[in-house]
């Protein structure tokens, strides 16, 4: 197996490209991070201070941005008056629940699709992924009508089910790739060594664990950030953070301070999650790419 020490050979072109990529990354970071920075800062500012902006071209005036007395009143407002703690809980349950269900069912289906050959397997596999080809809006109306007749609208189980409908095909598709990359010979060796079939499957799980971990995060992200399903299926009883935040925009009164704080509350958990599993996320998403 090749070692990880890549040999570099520098030419003028690669040098120029390297400078270009550094410049590109700097611009890109400013572009993506600035709004988040503004959000964070504004959530701790009084409204008056938040809207203080220097005149165009007045670079020296940029200091205004950092001149404020930090206040937690927006956060206070969110949790004391606007009931955000229950929305956070809704978001957590909906995202976590659908992610766990998708990954458990998805890995079982993916394992079978990867290991067993049967008639019509390719068609089945294509059908599974084709359910993700229609945009979500297209199925929204029938889905709503089905959910309403089942009394699932406005409930957490309903929302979990809706997210699972969308995450599961994706899970099967991605996880099958991970299982395909684990040679079946490893399970055969396990079985000859004295393992039962389920034990053999458990023995290869460490090999697909990074992939599964990474995929759980993708599922959580999808559900956590979703607005469409949450607004329509979850409306009322199962309000999640994005919907609750949207409701802070009222016709006469846009509550900027609370919106910024809600933005922070929504973003931070996902950032922490990303940090915690960063290592796995990277190995997980690239593992499928290399066949040895």
């Amino acid at each position: 197996m090749a070692s990880r020490e890549v040999v570099h050979y520098e030419t003028p072109i690669t040098k120029a490209l390297r400078w270009f990529s550094v410049a590109f990354i700097i611009v890109y970071l400013i572009w993506t991070l600035l709004p988040i920075l503004v959000m964070f800062a504004s959530s701790f500012k009084d409204l008056l201070e938040a809207f203080k902006i220097p005149a165009v071209g007045d670079w020296a005036g940029i200091g205004v941005f950092f001149e404020f007395t930090p206040t937690l009143k927006h956060y206070n407002d969110l949790f004391a008056n606007l009931n955000f703690s229950s929305y956070i809980l809704n978001s957590l349950v909906a995202a976590g629940g659908s992610a766990v269900i998708s990954v458990v069912l998805g890995s079982m289906a993916a394992y079978s699709l990867s290991r067993i050959s049967f008639k019509g397997k390719n068609d089945l596999f294509f059908w599974i992924i084709s359910t993700r080809m229609a945009p979500a809006v297209a199925v929204m109306v029938p889905l709503y009508s089905i959910f309403r007749s089942l009394d699932l609208v406005g409930t957490l189980p309903g929302l979990i089910l809706a997210y699972t409908t969308f995450n599961l095909p994706f899970a099967i598709w991605i996880l099958k790739g991970f299982f395909d990359n684990v040679p079946y010979a490893i399970e055969e060796a396990q079985m000859v060594d004295g393992a039962t079939r389920p034990q053999a499957l458990m023995a290869i799980l460490p090999l697909v664990a990074p992939g599964i971990g990474a995929f759980i995060v993708l599922c959580i992200l999808f559900a956590w950030n979703d607005f469409l399903f949450a607004a329509i299926i979850g409306s009322g009883g199962a309000k999640t953070l994005p919907v609750a935040t949207r409701e802070l925009v009222q016709p006469q009164n846009i509550q900027w301070g609370s919106i910024m704080a809600a933005g922070v509350v929504t973003t931070v958990p996902m950032m922490l999650l990303g940090l915690v599993i960063r290592k796995y996320l990277v190995t997980g998403l690239t593992m499928g790419a290399v066949k040895e």
Binding site: M1, P183, A185, I186, E188, A189, Q190, M191, V192, D193, G194, A195, T196, R197, Q199, A203, P206, L207
Partner: protein, 363 residues
């Protein structure tokens, strides 16, 4: 320990029959080698015994118990896989400990067994590494180690030392043979290397195109091949084949070729069994021939030296006949030079005749 029997075993992959009507009886404690060229169905046979491949037809029995429908773990075999099949996320130690762990052995016993196997295989210093940090030959030894930590009913070794260097291979041949002798465990050992089969096995099953050609001791397979294919596959350097005519002359029966006409021995005439005239394929191994530069008195084959190859203690001389070339084994002191005329005598005890059509051996 077990007796292994194959009763008309077939393996079909769709249309392709990889193993055809295999019948073998392998007594308890036997070292059986399955020998054949690439793609002849050796691994398929092994995988059927291990329970990794469905048996398309026929039965495999361990001690007269049919095992067709038994799960691999219940068959109590230990296998060395052709492709190693090591666990990539486990260290060498954990790889070798796995079969013991799955069977609930104590930690002390596991350590003791693994260390013993590692010492035997000279991989003691590698126990902490993972498979991707090993060379091919090291991986192969770990795979052997994983099989021999346990004392199973049956060992299945699928080309276990094909990736070792020549010296280590010779060493491992001895170690494996010795281990099998000491434990007395039945062993089925797949190889495409006839030297390996010859030197290790009690019994050799020669396979070709999914069919069992011959089942016999190494001596039988070497000295009495049942057909031209086995004769040509077993033995290095390979047997010489010449198409000859059988001709009756007065009280003799002669084998004639454009270069020679030699009488058959009486018992060989008997074995021809009615095939009194017509073409046969004559086969004789290089060590059944001898070569001289001076014409001897007995009947000889005349030819011209094509090339000499010195192989350490032996010399192989290629001799050009009118329409064929044969190889002769001789002593390294042989002084012939390419281009010179030479005389080859045949040890008629050691020659064979095969049917031209179906290759079956007359003698």
């Amino acid at each position: 320990m077990a007796k292994v029997s194959f009763r008309s075993v077939w393996k079909k992959y769709g249309e392709l029959a990889a193993v055809k009507d295999l019948n073998i009886e392998c007594a308890d404690g036997t070292f059986l080698s399955i020998l054949g060229p690439s793609g002849c169905g050796k691994s398929s046979t092994m995988r059927m015994i291990a329970g990794l491949e469905h048996i398309s037809a026929g039965d495999i029995l361990f001690d007269d118990q049919r095992i067709n429908d038994m799960a691999p773990r219940d068959r109590d075999v230990a296998m060395v896989f052709e492709n190693y099949a090591l666990y990539p996320h486990k260290t060498v130690f954990e790889n070798m400990a796995n079969p013991l762990k799955l069977r609930g052995q104590s930690t002390d016993r596991i350590r003791e067994r693994v260390n013993a196997a590692a010492n035997l295989l000279e991989i003691g210093q590698l126990l902490r590494r993972r498979p991707q940090e090993l060379s091919g030959g090291q991986k192969q030894r770990v795979a052997i180690g994983r099989a021999i930590v346990r004392e199973p009913k049956l060992f299945l070794f699928d080309e276990p030392i094909a990736h070792l260097d020549a010296k280590l291979r010779a060493h491992m041949r001895g170690e494996i043979k010795h281990m099998q002798r000491t434990l007395g465990t039945t062993m089925i050992y797949v190889t495409h290397d006839q030297l390996e089969a010859m030197s290790m096995a009690d019994l050799i099953a020669v396979m070709h195109d999914g069919e069992l050609q011959q089942l016999g001791t190494p001596r039988e397979v070497y000295n009495q091949p049942v057909n031209a294919w086995v004769a040509g596959f077993v033995g290095e350097p390979a047997m010489n084949f010449l198409t000859c005519e059988v001709q009756a002359r007065r009280d003799d029966v002669l084998l004639t070729h454009s270069n020679f006409a030699l009488p058959l021995l009486p018992q060989q005439v008997q074995r021809l069994n009615g095939h009194a005239a017509g073409p046969v394929r004559m086969g004789v191994r290089p060590d059944g021939l001898s070569i001289t530069m001076r014409k001897p008195s007995e009947p000889v084959i005349t030819g011209e030296i094509f090339v000499n190859e010195l192989l350490g203690g032996d010399m192989i001389v290629d001799v050009q006949l009118a329409d064929a070339r044969i190889r002769v084994k001789t002593a390294p002191e042989f002084e012939g030079v390419p281009g010179e005329a030479c005389y080859v005598t045949v040890n008629r005890e050691k020659w064979h005749a095969f049917d031209v059509e179906n290759g079956r051996a007359f003698f």
